[in-house]
């Protein structure tokens, strides 16, 4: 079956006019950063200066410059051609939309927070105008479009919300304010209004989709120009440098507005770079030079504390702990297909084990093991717990494992609370936990002290960050090597079809137990570091679900959101899941609400996760391509995976 595509503009414009318009818009967006956007320093970041961009203004520069570069590359400018093999104007459109998104977001947040458009300075107007102009121009470029996209109409019953919203509003106002139910009705009518708005928005989105009909590029790509291998290696290094800078920028954003702008920019730019074919090309390069890639990734990660201060190093250390544990869980869930809902308990086991032998004055065991021994103890104890929990339950049907692990997670917390001398033997001090865990000192390197490494001061959290990075590297190594071996293949086989796997001579129970124990062991190792980083282990750190990671629900979400069975998936998923709630503190009460909604929407839009496994990607998007006309795509026939 062939997908029918065409290359036409959405808005009929002469080619040169469209190009000029886009270029001008991009330039205007970038240039606006050098101007003042608003008159008062009340808006976070202080955007009042001429000639000295900050925060959101840098995002505008990046958006404008990238749009321009993509435009030039698509036009075939020598030197940039390599970066846009598809020559698709869609990439330009995405980039321009990204610029518009940053612009629109900045302008609206300035005018809403400060109360009115009057708060905009000329720079703000230039920004908004430039963003609009760029998108208009890009819509006039010849875009890769599908010839026909049927208009999807939402479930008709949803449109009942539209008349319901005003009715609710009237009803809420008809009730006298002193009735106890009045505030409830007001809230209800508000919710109705929001729901009605969402329905309208969604339908508008479908309408836009059927009008724009943007499609994928299916032209054969020109073979990339052969570059000398040192250039290719340099390209990889540069790519990781840029990536590392982008992530550092994200972690360092110190107010919510900047973080949202940053997320908008990143999302659109990734779409744009994927559309231009640059990401595909870089991916091919990384596959070609695996060792270089691994080294570059590691170096990029290790450079973090050198770029930023203690404040963000502490955040990054916690991200690493969370991400590492998520990757460990990915062995259990992503490779072996075992649903573990209490995984955080293994982190806790490792942390408690390390705390008990750390020499903390609160530990009832008065020994102080060296750190390497503590790691072994933590890993071993965790593994024992994994086996103890796994052995009776892994023989059962898969879904029972979910409840048993969930139960285990809760029981772990309760037991740690109970082993306090009153309701059980004194091991853990109950809810007081084991505080004052001493700092690490490995081979004379005191982690609590600031050290100068290469002329840059690395503080306590920088030290722990680097230590944790080693643990992460270990987990990545184990995951990559075991995942791609006889054992890993057996796990995937079990995940795919346990009966068939057994018929191939695989001892399902033993291999599942192995996966469970290995996962537990890796989480335990992460736990030993965590105990020292936070100084204290208490039962309330290890819960099933909570506002902030790490907890079992977030760990699972990181794995599935990021992409099961991959290495980069859980790392990316964990980073996002950690940063989003942290950076959106200004949403305060609504932060978790937004998080819950985001999980639902993401699973709806991308059930295979952000970074799909190569295999899963094939599986999910194969079905999209034939696109049988008028099929309700809710029921597009996909074969049930796993089951």
């Amino acid at each position: 079956m062939t997908t029918r595509t065409e290359t036409t503009p959405v808005i009929p414009l002469p080619a040169t006019a469209a190009t000029t318009l886009t270029g001008l818009g991009a330039l205007a967006v970038a240039a606006s950063a050098a101007m003042s956007w608003t008159w008062t320093s009340d808006f976070p970041g202080d955007l009042t200066y001429y000639g000295s961009p900050v925060g959101l203004q840098w995002l505008a520069v990046a958006a404008g410059v990238l749009t321009l570069a993509l435009l030039l590359a698509t036009l075939g400018t020598p030197g940039l051609r390599w970066a846009a093999p598809t020559r698709s104007n869609n990439a330009v459109l995405y980039a321009a939309t990204g610029a518009l998104a940053v612009a629109a977001y900045s302008v609206t947040s300035i005018s809403t927070e400060l109360g009115g458009l009057a708060n905009l300075e000329p720079g703000g107007w230039v920004l908004a105008g430039g963003g609009l102009l760029g998108v208009l121009g890009a819509l006039g470029l010849p875009l890769d479009r599908r010839t026909h996209v049927p208009l999807r109409i939402l479930d008709k019953r949803l449109f009942l919300l539209l008349p319901a919203a005003p009715v609710g509003w009237i009803a809420a106002h008809a009730i006298p304010g002193d009735k106890p139910v009045a505030p409830v009705m007001t809230a209800l009518s508000g919710a109705l209004a929001i729901a009605a708005g969402a329905v309208l928005l969604l339908q508008l989105g479908h309408l836009a989709n059927s009008q724009l009909r943007l499609g994928k590029v299916d032209r054969p790509l020109p073979a990339p120009r052969e570059l000398p291998s040192w250039v290719e290696v340099l390209l990889i290094v540069a790519a990781f440098g840029v990536g590392s800078y982008a992530i550092t920028f994200g972690i360092d954003t110190d107010y919510g507005e900047l973080f949202i702008g940053y997320l908008l920019l990143i999302a659109f730019m990734i779409a744009a770079l994927a559309g231009s074919g640059l990401l595909g090309r870089l991916r091919a390069l990384t596959l070609k030079y695996r060792p270089v890639t691994t080294g570059a990734a590691f170096a990029a990660a290790a450079s973090f504390p050198f770029q930023t201060g203690e404040q963000y190093a502490s955040v990054a250390t916690n991200i690493l702990i969370f991400a590492t544990v998520a990757l460990g869980l990915n062995i259990v869930v992503g490779l072996a297909g075992l649903l573990d809902l209490g995984y955080v308990a293994f982190l806790g086991v490792g942390a408690y084990a390390a705390a008990l032998v750390s020499g903390s004055p609160a530990s009832p065991i008065h020994v102080q093991l060296p750190f390497w021994a503590a790691v072994i103890v933590g890993a071993a104890v965790s593994m024992v717990f994994g086996v103890v929990i796994g052995a009776p339950t892994l023989r059962l049907r898969g879904d029972y494992l979910a409840i048993v692990t969930l139960g285990f997670g809760e029981i772990f917390r309760i037991t740690m609370q109970n082993l306090n001398g009153t309701t059980g033997p004194n091991v853990t001090n109950g809810s007081n936990g084991i505080p004052r865990i001493p700092e690490l000192n490995i081979l004379g390197f005191d982690f609590s002290q600031t050290h100068a490494l290469g002329g840059i001061q690395i503080g306590r959290f920088g030290n722990y960050y680097l230590l944790m990075l080693l643990v992460t590297a270990l987990v990545v190594l184990v995951f990559a090597r075991v995942g791609n071996s006889r054992i890993g293949r057996a796990w995937i086989a079990i995940r795919e079809d346990e009966t068939a796997a057994e018929a191939m001579g695989i001892n399902g129970f033993r291999l599942k137990l192995l996966a469970f124990a290995l996962g537990a062991c890796l989480a335990g190792v992460a736990g030993t570091v965590q105990a020292h980083v936070t100084y204290t282990v208490t039962p309330d750190q290890y819960t099933f679900a909570d506002a902030l990671p790490p907890n079992s629900a977030f760990l699972l979400a990181a794995v599935i959101l990021g992409g099961m069975g991959t290495i980069s998936g859980p790392l990316a998923g964990a980073t996002l899941l950690f940063l989003i709630p942290k950076k959106l503190e200004f949403l305060s009460d609504y932060q978790l609400l937004v998080f819950g909604a985001a999980l639902i929407v993401l699973m709806r839009v991308r059930p295979e996760g952000l970074i799909p496994n190569r295999r899963r990607q094939l599986e999910f998007h194969e079905a999209d391509e034939p696109a049988p006309p008028a099929a309700d795509d809710d029921t597009t026939a996909l074969t049930k995976a796993g089951a």
Partner: protein, 269 residues
């Protein structure tokens, strides 16, 4: 039974009951070295249940299964390790693995590399891995799938999925291969190709026990054929014996069988 060549597979009096239902009733069967044996019967006759009893998926209520003289343990993976491999009636490939990986999974029992070996990646590991791949590619070449080694199993056309299942089963170096309806859903051409494949497998020294509906396929292929009706073996023998047996004819034509069943066990001894 104690002749110079003991049978490869010796099934004696296997009975399988689920609650009140007797799915397989006192079936005995032998497969010799280098033989191709057929097992036919109408739908619901208990053929697949019988297979599951052989492969350790079910523990037979009564009776015993011996392979090369030893009683088989009732665990699928141990049965495979002992040397019996199987395919499934409703193809059960590892859909999201590549064709090559599917066959590599089949090598599982014949390789020993454990978790530490995988992490440390010592020379021995690379050696074993290379050997497995070589063997797997050989099997893919043997079944004619070598050019699709890197495709996802789920993307293969139906006939090739059947072939892949056979290649995967062969990867465990079995002495006996159990095929569950290998030609279901195939066109005549593909069926003939499958026939060739089964002969080729036998020529490599692997005995084959095959369940089929397609009479012609069975009679072309098999040295002996057993007929299973309502869980009981009513007749066993060569083409002529089976084709001329009245009970077989009536079973396939759907005539009531009640009158004949009680006598069946004695007759087929």
């Amino acid at each position: 039974m104690t002749t110079t060549t003991a049978p490869l597979l010796d099934v004696t009096g296997v009975t399988m009951r689920f609650g009140g239902l007797t799915a397989v009733n006192d079936v005995s069967l032998t497969v010799g070295e280098g033989e191709i044996i057929g097992l036919i019967g109408p739908n619901g006759a208990g053929k697949t249940t019988f297979f599951n009893c052989l492969t350790g998926l079910y523990v037979p209520t009564e009776g015993a299964v011996r392979y090369r003289g030893t009683v088989l343990p009732p665990k699928p993976h141990l049965v495979t390790q002992a040397g019996i491999a199987r395919t499934f009636q409703n193809i059960r490939l590892f859909a999201n693995m590549t064709v090559l990986e599917n066959v590599l999974v089949g090598r599982h029992t014949r390789t020993r590399e454990g978790i530490f070996s995988a992490i440390l990646r010592l020379p021995r590991y690379h050696h074993a891995e290379a050997e497995s791949r070589e063997k797997a590619m050989e099997l893919l070449a043997f079944t004619g799938l070598a050019h699709k080694a890197d495709h996802l199993a789920r993307n293969l056309p139906y006939g090739e999925q059947r072939k892949l299942e056979i290649a995967r089963a062969l990867a465990s170096d079995p002495g006996l291969l159990l095929l569950d309806e290998p030609t279901a859903g195939m066109n005549p051409q593909e069926t003939r190709a499958a026939e060739e494949l089964v002969f080729a497998i036998r020529d490599q020294g692997v005995s084959v026990l095959v369940i089929e509906h397609d009479m012609r396929f069975i009679f072309n292929l098999c040295d002996r054929t057993a007929v299973l009706v309502q869980g009981q073996k009513i007749v066993e023998g060569d083409r002529a014996t089976v084709q001329n047996d009245e009970r077989v004819i009536s079973a396939y034509l759907g005539a009531p069988l009640e009158s004949t069943t009680p006598a069946a066990p004695e007759d087929t001894q």
